[in-house]
Symmetry: C2
Subunit: 250 residues, 2 copies
């Protein structure tokens, strides 16, 4: 079971879009996949067409009040979700008093079996939920929007990943940087791609996610791109990413 | 002196782009304007062409180690900046031990005079820096990206604003919701606009910011849209917003 955190503190770079669509692409390829929505915004939950369930969600799973079977929801063939909750924001205060709170999610996931992949959607900050995910994960995918501001925060994120690796999770590795919202008609996209590939080399996935309105429309129907527009550029690019990951090049 | 916080915990909706370009539009109209970068990502600082200054920045101003004149930087005619810093992230822990830490920024701003407007750029979370800004501000502008996920977090944000109003800042009001990245060729933009105007009515600015690549390119040159492409749709839309604000319709 490989656990992958989708993380970047820069906002709006395609973390949620990558979490739900990569998960579905891996499920389509025959893998059993679980999405864990650990962002109080609940975007991955609604993006997969699931309402907030106040009485059983990731909050209850994290604090051990409910076990995995009570909180998980089947979303599609081979695709499951532990739904998020706005109540997570309250947990931020509570967990500060738990000894080694950083390892809470990792411990709880020991009770989860029978999946090939677990994908974490994290919030746009280097706060407790991103730390919980980085400590629990085997690897991290960093979506990088092909725009200027998205370049700025990368060094801070890499530093944080290294800090988590040195303290709580020595086996944590960067699975890759994923270029998102790439628009080949626009110079800025090409410039950002060149800079990211020059700086990070082989750590950057060959697959690039194009800017595609279909990807932005799909969540308003509670669908992944594979249900909404299965033959679009958006679907193809996430299938290609899934193939690149399954071929184990990183 | 009117203090305006630009806030929305959803990431990538145009908070920084609105903070720097609205500030410059107000400065062009003859107002003396200060931008305060209270986001550890430093995007407003680099978007205004200023390097991080490790020895004097918003951190030193907030904790009272330096006064306003020592940290502020003139960026353009009538346009000033208190630069951000990555070190803000460390402050998050320190301020928890200060009594009524929520009022820290409001107190420090009492020492700042001679400005018509102060604009706060906040991070994508409802964390301490956004709370500091909401407590210090007279009003809030909420950028709303014309996409599905951006609708989801609005009720949480409105609840937080009400909470701050009831506890620390009774005069806080919502100046308006600003539709951003509007693409009239795309149904989704129209649907989001209809929904936001139906739900929030007159609280929504008439001015709408179009999706325009010039706005995304400008920060890579350290310029606002008024220096980079003064006659573009992006410039016009932020001038229109400044006029709407100066005419006091909200
Ligand atoms: N490749 C793409 N093409 C077009 N639109 C996209 C693409 N990827 C994401 N989007 C849209 O851009 C917006 C931001 O994406 P998303 O919400 O996935 O980013 P995020 O990093 O999860 O944001 P946050 O920081 O708030 O968690 C959303 O409205 C989404 O639908
Ligand atoms: N109207 C627009 N048209 C096109 N691109 C835009 C527009 N407004 C902002 N952008 C670009 O979209 C991206 C997100 O905008 P911005 O960084 O201002 O959002 P933000 O809300 O400040 O993000 P964060 O949540 O990370 O602080 C940036 O790359 C910016 O250049
Ligand atoms: Mg997200
Ligand atoms: Mg910003």
């Amino acid at each position: 079971m490989e656990k992958i955190a989708i993380a970047n503190q820069k906002g709006g770079v395609g973390k949620t879009t990558t979490a739900v669509n990569l998960a579905h692409a891996l499920a389509e390829a025959g893998k059993r996949v679980l999405v864990l929505d650990i962002d109080p915004q609940l975007n991955a939950t609604s993006g997969l067409g699931v309402e907030e369930r106040k009485e059983s969600n990731i909050y209850h799973f994290l604090i051990g009040e409910k076990d995995f079977n009570e909180v998980s929801v089947m979303v599609d063939n081979n695709l499951y979700l532990v739904p998020g909750t706005k109540d997570l924001a309250g947990l931020q205060v509570e967990i500060a008093y738990i000894d080694r709170w950083q390892t809470l999610l990792r411990k709880r996931l020991k009770t989860v079996k029978d999946f090939d992949f677990v994908v974490f959607d994290t919030p746009p900050s280097i706060g407790p939920f991103t730390i919980l995910s980085l400590v629990a994960a085997d690897s991290v995918i960093i979506p990088v929007q092909c725009e200027y501001y998205a370049l700025e925060g990368l060094s801070q994120l890499i530093k944080t990943i290294k800090m988590v690796k040195d303290s709580f999770n020595p086996s944590l590795k960067i699975k890759g940087l994923l270029l998102t919202m790439y628009d080949r008609r626009v110079n800025l996209s090409r410039q950002v791609e060149e800079e990211v590939r020059r700086y990070f080399g082989r750590k950057v996935f060959r697959s690039v996610i194009p800017r595609s309105i279909r990807l932005a429309e799909a969540p308003s129907f509670g669908m992944t791109i594979f249900r909404y527009a299965p033959h679009s550029a958006g679907s193809e690019s996430y299938r290609e990413l899934a193939r690149e990951i399954l071929n184990g090049k990183n």
